[in-house]
Symmetry: C2
Subunit: 391 residues, 2 copies
């Protein structure tokens, strides 16, 4: 049942171990469910309890450490040998006294890692302060090193198999966008539009089944479109307002994302002007996203267009995207922003999202792309870039 | 735009402050998005970046501290005065150097809390190890206390307005279950069944719009039903297999959950027997869930039925439910399990879920209920409890 061949996992583990060696880490503990999936193949909606991948330099395979109840799911989805699935008992769930990290510490001590150099990603999703404090307390002879997204940085460059899954995700989100643009109309409740969009995201296509995106649809209109990250409600879309749709497509936990904007009525000049400038900026920035360029330079290409037209934008214009779980499809590594000197390489994938939030309305345009060995990137998503107008 | 009147928030804050005083806490920092919503009304899919509610004993309102980009959303959804919305700059997003917790520490120091007794929930979702380490480093004169779900325990007892929203959520999930039981059939892809179920969850009813549940649909069948928490795939349902549906309904972030099981074909005796015993156990345990009883006793009522029939179950049979965000609709406070001495009170709400996972199949039956001042609880969800058979 694992999604990839064993050879894919072996290659990932080798790349992670090389970074561990460079960082002086003997044992790496990963709490981020995307990293747990990346290293073991494990997939389940169990990340609301503590669970970990533990990779030692001297072990061939990582350990899966999770709740007893989830061990059957690990046996179904992870590539590792049965003896590397190590469940903790139910007594450690939501307890003020017992904590899964105590169990992890015991496993490490038993296997001779009580004095090891242990890497933990201090700012990883689902790696709580208590998990860290319990580990350090139970392993006083070990030293702890902030691994700072070590596995995330390995994930940044995709394998051909991973890019294949992302193409599938992109086909899903492109189709869901068409459904959304049809569904959003004056008088329709936001929740009813989202119901249709989400059904399209989950149906997927005949060949590519739809998995759940790490973030659900964002479909704000009118004044709410001036605020990013607002989810839907029972409000009805109104004539003479702007709405944007920011959607994810997902297949086997791999994501592509896509944003487009529509206007219900005759669009005001200010909106048309922003749409024109943003489309030009997107063209320039996408064309700049070539192997050997830095993230900084990609953003600069956008900014030169934007500033020349008299606009400005404080926030980044994109981030790497791929394998993920809620709450975010971004990988938290390279960002397309000023000062990010990450050099683009072939098979890095990004969601370039140009969000312009004004005082009382907003405009979004985005594409998901994959860097090629040379030349302009492969745009994975596919939907006309013009402002959609429903007169 | 806040969902509740100011008086509702004032009452919550008073209850939280009473617990802070009892615990010797001057300032409480909450990272859990459900607690941020509970104290301020803030609602947005922004919990993938650091954000906090900060409540001081000597302040009338909590502070909302979040990303600059999300401040407009806070102004739209939170009940607090504009000056209590305190955004941190974009430079603090996904940075190895700057961290939002440093910003929080600076806000606290400026306001004279540099030597305060500060409460943090060390094991809260989204409260990372780094956030804690940055806070303690930047506030060396402060003392830190593990508040251990202090706000979660306040959330355990609902107001009448909250119970009203949960009744709406229960209406949604009951309807989605009917859609799901219709959709699951031999030859249908799991993802296509989930598309229909999720559309029903988001449509809601004419009066009650559907919000996104903190966990999406679980619809495993056959061997996968033996493992909890498996999400769907493109696999097709097969004749002569069991499938269970574990679904959430959500309205304005308040949840009800519901699980039922179906068999496609002629059900085997072993399944019919489990279904019969579990239904009896549910009756007994629900009837026991009265104000003044302990969680332990409710579970014991179930276990006596189960053990008499020769079965056993290691995991808890329920947990409190209400306001929440991904990844979990459970409140992480009272659990219906052996040894939990929490005393039931009127307006506590629970999801009682009886999941029996065998070697190669599973069975689930659940209800969401609200404890009444006296007598048996109000069952919020509504769907026939019998095993659904599709011959």
């Amino acid at each position: 049942m694992p999604v990839f061949d064993r050879s894919e996992f072996v290659a990932r583990i080798a790349r992670v171990k090389a970074r561990m060696t460079a960082a002086g880490i003997d044992v790496l503990i990963c709490a981020d469910p995307a990293n747990l999936n990346y290293l073991t193949g494990y997939d389940g909606w169990s990340f609301y309890v503590h669970q970990y991948a533990v990779l030692s330099l001297d072990a061939e395979e990582p350990l899966w450490i999770g709740r007893s109840m989830d061990a059957p799911g690990a046996r179904l989805t992870a590539f590792v040998k049965p003896e590397n699935i190590v469940p903790y008992p139910e007594t450690h769930v939501d307890s003020a006294i017992l904590h899964p990290a105590q169990f992890v510490a015991e496993v490490l001590r038993e296997r001779g890692y009580g004095r090891a150099r242990i890497g933990v990603d201090l700012d990883a999703f689902y790696f709580t302060a208590r998990a860290y404090l319990e580990l350090t307390k139970a392993l006083p002879g070990a030293s702890f090193i902030d691994s700072q997204g070590l596995v995330n940085w390995v994930r940044l460059v995709k394998s051909p198999a991973e890019v294949g899954l992302m193409r599938g995700a992109a086909a899903i989100v492109s189709q869901a966008m068409a459904v959304g643009m049809e569904a959003v109309a004056p008088g329709v409740r936001e929740c009813d539009a989202v119901a249709k969009i989400t059904a399209a995201q989950f149906h997927g296509t005949a060949d590519v089944w739809g998995d759940y995106p790490a973030a659900l649809a964002q479909v704000p209109s009118g004044r709410k479109s001036a605020a990013p990250h607002m989810t839907w409600s029972g409000d009805r879309y109104k004539q003479d307002t702007v709405a944007y749709l920011e959607l994810g497509g997902c297949h086997q936990r791999y994501h592509a994302a896509l944003a487009r904007t529509l206007y219900m009525g005759k669009p005001p000049e200010a909106l048309l002007d922003v749409a024109k400038v943003v489309a030009e900026g997107l063209d320039m920035a996408l064309d700049a996203a070539r192997a050997g360029t830095t993230c900084h330079d990609v953003e600069a290409a956008w900014r030169s267009v934007l500033n020349r037209a008299g606009y400005s934008k404080a926030s980044r214009i994109g981030y790497s995207i791929g394998l993920n779980y809620p709450p975010d499809w971004g990988e938290r590594t390279a960002s397309l922003r000023e000062g990010d000197e990450t050099v683009l390489e072939a098979n890095m994938c990004f969601h370039m999202i140009l969000g312009m939030w004004m005082d009382d309305w907003g405009y979004e345009l985005s594409e998901t792309f994959c860097v090629r060995p040379s030349g302009a990137p492969e745009i994975l998503t596919s939907f006309p870039r013009e402002l959609v107008v429903k007169p």
